[in-house]
Symmetry: C2
Subunit: 292 residues, 2 copies
């Protein structure tokens, strides 16, 4: 009995060593995970869909002061802006509202050609958007090639069909109406231009290190808002789409680098003769504005 | 010797049991963390700063088809839009670019009053923005009350001072230049209007359940882009700010519900006589546009 144990002793010791080893290893991985779960990094991760898995962390503790401007020591120059009379301001604000209030998301787009110079100008306009620390983290890929447009349509319809059919299961019972929609997106062929908007989730510094692009998704979304206004201003239509799970395949198709992630796709052209839109209304001012 | 070991045996066994216990526990917590790290929820969590911790998850598998329109069975109506000649389109696109290219982020704002009707119109214009599934998930809080503006300034400067001083430590060595910036934001007192833009991270259904607001942050950011264009169009200036860690206190100060999270704060007014802006340039078209 005693003999047996004493002979087993080295085994016990071995077991203990192994177990301690396992624990220490476990501790290490934990301590690696904890901060990811609790640190600002994790909380400040921008929204990402399946396409956008790689790190676009913000680092609030390295964040600029919340104003979207380089805080570096850059020379300042005097600024002035054309000043309108109050009467003119009211008239201009009313006219601009009436122009943009006619904007609708249109998915019936004519194949009539659109002057390329207009596309250049609306994208230059989007490029005037502010951005976190003036990083200008956007790339506008304008697709006019018929075959590439069709490849884009194939990728999106393939993914949308999967999304759609997966959804049907979930919604079958309580939302039969949704079944009337489908994943066919003819406008991806007919629209003379597809504008794919990529956000640059980080930049590159001369020393090859990653340059953080603060608020890159918000910045690029703001630029898209300005782009939508510019399109409406010239009488072109589009529909704001965020193709689900298509980002990586479209990025590869268009040869964009890995630091660029698809944020939006806008088919652009004239509305087709038989274009229709859902009979939706917008919230009145009192429902969206509070004055204190 | 042998005696010693045999008497220690129970101790070995005890130790082994404890160690095994610890390992099993460790395993449990790991397996609890794994899914959180890899699930869609975690990946699809919108960007949140310290203010915005509560759930604004997207569920791509429940996502609509990527087009920002109700897929419900809504009646469709014919759509048409004013058609401009190609010459007019080019001219309009050029003029709009030149107007918006004069926009700069300005933090020297005059206390001259601005017609309230203009503010109403620019916010109505922002409200024409598209939104995921037409949820219109935005609330624009317009602050003109002098005392509330000052309270907002106190909250922001208090937080910014902390952010700033925390930052100084990190950057002391390699970025002395940044020290020239500070956390004083006089424009929060002087601007006749502060527009605080809240995103509604979810809505409420009649049955009291949460209504998912797909892409609420992107939607509200697009609306901000349109708002910036509307402000520039009437000769008003602002600076795009995302006050770090101030959201909850500002939300409470303004009495907004918990489903609303501060996304942006825009001080709005005329530029002050001595306003200056950093001498920054914008990327040329070739650096932001790719045509295929």
């Amino acid at each position: 009995m005693t003999m047996a144990f004493s002979s087993l002793t080295p085994v016990f010791v071995a077991i203990i060593c192994v177990l301690i080893g396992i624990i220490v290893k476990g501790r290490k991985t934990n301590s690696k995970n904890e901060p990811r779960k609790t640190s600002k990094k994790a909380e400040s991760r921008p929204w990402v869909d399946d396409d956008l898995k790689d790190s676009t962390d913000l680092h609030p503790e390295e964040e600029d002061d919340g104003e979207w401007q380089e805080s570096e020591d850059i020379a300042h120059t005097p600024f002035s802006l054309e000043r309108y009379s109050e009467e003119d301001m009211i008239k201009r604000s009313k006219n601009f509202y009436e122009l943009l209030n006619k904007r609708r998301s249109v998915r019936f787009i004519s194949d009539e050609p659109v002057p390329r110079e207009v596309i250049d100008n609306v994208i230059k306009t989007a490029g005037t958007s502010p951005s976190g620390a003036h990083t200008e983290p956007w790339t506008f890929v304008v697709v006019k090639d018929i075959e590439i447009k069709h490849k884009i349509r194939e990728i999106i319809e393939e993914e949308e069909e999967i999304n759609y059919k997966k959804r049907m299961g979930d919604r079958w019972v309580n939302d039969l109406k949704r079944l009337r929609t489908n994943w066919i997106k003819e406008y991806l062929d007919t629209a003379p231009y597809l504008i794919l908007i990529f956000k640059q989730v980080h930049g590159m510094l001369p020393d090859g290190k990653k340059k953080t692009h603060y608020y890159n998704e918000i910045s690029v979304s703001i630029a898209c808002g300005i782009l939508l206004a510019a399109l409406q201003n010239v009488g072109l239509v589009t529909v704001t789409t965020t193709p689900l799970n298509c980002g990586p395949r479209l990025r590869v198709l268009l040869g964009r680098p890995t630091n660029e992630k698809l944020l939006m796709l806008l088919p652009v052209g004239y509305p087709s003769k038989d274009a229709t839109v859902p009979d939706l209304t917008r919230k009145p001012l009192d429902d969206i504005m509070v004055v204190v």
